[in-house]
């Protein structure tokens, strides 16, 4: 053996050991992200989140597992096998170079496939995956360098396969044990509880029989008929039906569901509303080719099981509201919240045959050339994601018999009802009293300014910034008020009494009882002062955005400046995000407890509460 071949083999052993370590790290990350409680989760070192780089997304996607085992875990026996072959080659066994080259070739091809999926399907790459791609390329090069002239003996091939199998048993066994231990600790559901009021049940009876002629997405003529098992609500004798094909994990579906909720509020007595499943995952939906949403099938399965107990719509609302958490344990919790009997639900959820309804819906969707979600058919007329309630209301009015002019006017009325955003009255009181489920809160109408050491609530003030909890508390007390508690603030913001589901003394860290934003469940970038570039924008005066209000008329709870709450320094926490809180993250449950009560910067403000 030549010197450089020996060097190549030694490097291969070292690379393989590195690859096994990375595989272990990625397995840990995969399992903790999916199955651990928030307290158990840790940050993945070496993968800072940046534009187009996100290990959390890639390493928990539907592409991150094969046969239910994380790809990181599968990597361990692969590299273990490479290490064994290279080690044996170093002792003089012939043919190792060829075996390693072939394995390297396969792994480089697989790397290319995964990179393609990361970019095209997931929109993100993962730094550790990229490092493994480099290891795979190096394995190929070093395999070639170590010599490919000799053919491997069948004994060497057998030893290599044996090494793969042995390490695979240990790695997969260890991973499964770790996963089980996480779930034994309560899993993600340990962060939840069941304290919200039970929601309204489904209407009784099968879905009515209706057929529609449709011009499909691909401009073909097709027909479809409602299934008696379809989830429905509204008027079963209606001549007009709104049929939605949706995926409970799809963000656009969540947004559209709020538009359909507005339609239901206006037309529930005259129109039939039907939900059909179209999860973007081929595991349960024959109508799609690529798995875009890893939890979509389990969510659809759980929805079917909730429906069996007449709790579909309650479950549907909870799943959309908590769409960021759709693991098994969460889904069970939502079913419980919706009022389902959990023993019955669990039996159904364990029964894969219950997915038949989902599969049938997928076939119907495919026959209508559906290529994405949501798709809404109003008496056969297709609407896609982004369709407003007003646009769909016009179609409903036409189908109900209105003239084009009447339909436009009535649909416009829907808009007027929805957007009760006008100028803030000049005589608006400086405090509001809001009662929710027995909890009464008296709270400043606006973010506070500080004048002569006293907190002042009013329109068009410069809100206090660079304010610590200590200063905020003193300013409230100087004004004869006090700082709000976390429960008071969150309750007012989300328009429902906040429950401490996991009983850790915090209210913005677990299940959302009300709306995610003061004005609605869905982010509207025109409403509050949020999502702005930090270096180009600043906070605005109080009360500048009439739409950033709760129904009770409390302004600017989310965005603009973060607000201190807490009745003691130990409970001091900033809520609601600021003007530069990115994207739609300035929510009622945005919670920042990173620093202690003395923390202050240009983003920190407050408002006061009083005794009702």
């Amino acid at each position: 053996m030549k010197g450089y071949q020996r060097v190549a083999l030694v490097l291969l052993v070292l690379l393989a050991v590195f690859g096994m370590g990375v595989g272990g790290l990625m397995s840990w990350h995969h399992d903790t992200q999916l199955y651990a409680t928030d307290a158990q989760k840790g940050a993945l070192i070496g993968c800072e989140e940046a534009e187009g780089v996100n290990c959390d997304i890639v390493n928990t996607s539907a592409w991150s597992e094969i046969l239910g085992v994380p790809l990181g875990t599968w990597a361990i026996p692969f590299y273990g096998m490479i290490a064994v072959i290279a080690g044996l080659a170093l002792t003089g066994q012939a043919g190792g170079g060829l075996l390693i080259t072939l394995a390297g070739l396969g792994s480089v091809g697989f790397s290319g496939f995964l990179y393609y999926i990361s970019v095209t399907e997931l929109g993100n790459v993962c730094a550790w995956c990229m490092r493994l791609y480099a290891v795979n390329a190096a394995t190929l090069v070093l395999g070639l360098a170590s010599g490919v002239a000799a053919k491997p003996s069948s004994k060497l091939i057998g030893t290599a396969l044996g090494a793969w199998f042995g390490v695979a048993v240990l790695a997969i066994g260890g991973q499964q044990l770790y996963k089980s231990s996480l779930l034994a600790d309560g899993g993600p559901a340990a962060d939840l509880g069941a304290k919200v009021a039970k929601l309204e049940g489904d209407p009784k009876g099968p879905a009515p029989t209706m057929s529609f002629t449709v011009t499909t997405e691909d401009k073909k003529e097709a027909t479809f008929t409602l299934d008696a098992d379809d989830a429905w609500k509204g008027n079963p004798k209606a001549k007009v039906a709104v049929v939605e094909f949706a995926d409970l994990e799809c963000g656009f579906c969540k947004r559209t569901s709020s538009e359909i909720a507005r339609l239901y509020a206006a037309y529930g007595d005259r129109v039939l509303f039907v939900f059909k499943h179209f999860p973007m995952n081929p595991t349960c939906n024959p109508g799609v080719k690529n798995p875009k949403h890893r939890d979509a099938c389990r969510a659809a399965h759980a929805a079917v099981c909730a429906q069996e107990q007449g709790k579909f719509w309650a479950f549907h609302d909870l799943a959309f509201k908590n769409q960021h958490q759709l693991g098994d344990e969460y889904l069970r919790t939502y079913a419980g919240e919706a009022g389902a009997n959990l023993d019955t639900f669990n039996a159904c959820y364990a029964d894969k045959s219950k997915m038949e309804l989902v599969r049938r819906d997928g076939e119907v969707g495919a026959s209508l050339d559906i290529h994405g979600t949501p798709r809404i058919f109003i008496n056969g007329k297709l609407y896609r994601s982004g369709a407003s309630a007003e646009a769909m209301a016009k179609e409903i009015e036409l189908a109900l018999g209105a003239t084009a002019e009447e339909a436009a006017t009535k649909a416009g009325n829907l808009k007027d009802k929805a957007e009760v955003v006008g100028a803030i009255p000049a005589d608006v009181p400086d405090m509001r009293t809001v009662t929710m489920d027995g909890l009464t809160v008296k709270i400043d109408t606006f973010e506070a300014a500080i004048v002569d050491g006293k907190a002042v609530s009013g329109k068009h003030n410069v809100p206090a910034i660079r304010t610590s909890w200590v200063t905020a508390k003193a300013a409230c007390e100087a004004a004869g008020k006090r700082l709000c508690t976390e429960q008071e603030w969150v309750s007012v913001c989300q328009n429902a009494k906040a429950a401490d589901d996991n009983q850790n003394g915090e209210y913005a860290d677990d299940m959302i009882e009300g709306t995610a934003y003061p004005y609605a469940d869905f982010h509207d970038k025109t409403r509050c002062w949020d999502g702005k570039e930090g270096d180009q924008f600043r906070p605005v005066y109080t009360g500048e955005l009439p739409g950033c209000a709760t129904p009770g008329g409390v302004y600017d709870l989310t965005g603009n400046v973060e607000e201190w709450v807490g009745d003691s320094a130990g409970k001091a926490v900033l809520l609601g995000g600021a003007w530069d809180t990115k994207d739609d993250h300035a929510r009622c449950y945005r919670r920042n407890d990173t620093f202690g009560a003395g923390y202050a910067n240009a983003r920190t403000g407050f408002r006061c509460c009083g005794t009702p």
């Binding site: 070192i45 410069v462 660079r466 610590s468 990173t594 620093f595 009560a597 923390y599 202050a600």
Partner: protein
């Protein structure tokens, strides 16, 4: 027509931001503070009069701090004419101790570690990300602040500010180590 234009203007008027001056901060007298020291005793900024002081605020969850703190420690050995203080702002002191124990080399005695677990010191400096370093002149006025740490750049600007020299600019340099936003610690 004119009325319609006025109405449209009102409808589309951008919300009014607070005055720029309200956001200004460098150039003012540095906020005084006292912190407990790891080795015992306290450090009070106002007691360092006549000395240029380098303050580094850091936290255990801040990735760049793992490189910044040892580098600052070495610098403090070289520049005995300056006063250094590394102020930890974790709410939990144990997290800071764990971080310090895991450092590859112990922190020099010329870089005292202060604990500001209730953020009372931090609150005077309007910090948003970790690490953030301040240069406080002999007159007690904030001369310079820098957020983040780059191994490539080191403490060139800090030393320039401390020595009263022009502060070099690095227009083409990409941030080699993005600071960790304080509110970004948790999802």
């Amino acid at each position: 027509m004119f009325g319609a234009l006025v109405a449209a203007q009102i409808a589309w008027a951008a919300p009014e931001m607070i005055p720029l001056e309200a956001m200004d901060e460098v150039g003012h007298t540095a906020s005084d503070f006292t912190v407990e020291l790891r080795e015992g005793g306290t450090f009070t900024l106002s007691e360092q009069q006549g000395k240029t002081v380098i303050i580094s605020f850091w936290a255990s969850w801040c990735t760049p701090c793992k490189k910044e703190l040892p580098a600052l420690s070495r610098l403090s050995e070289e520049r005995k004419d300056l006063r250094f203080i590394a102020v930890n702002v974790d709410r939990d002191r144990a997290a800071a101790e764990k971080f310090l124990t895991a450092l590859p080399e112990p922190v020099s005695s010329s870089l005292p570690i202060g604990f500001d677990n209730d953020a009372m010191a931090l609150g005077g400096y309007s910090v948003t990300s970790m690490p953030t370093i301040f240069v406080i002149g002999k007159d007690g006025v904030t001369r310079f602040r820098k957020t983040g740490y780059s191994e490539q750049r080191g403490f060139v600007e800090i030393l320039a500010a401390a020595d009263g020299k022009p502060i070099p600019t690095f227009d083409n340099e990409k941030a080699a180590a993005t600071p960790t936003p304080a509110a970004g610690k948790k999802p």
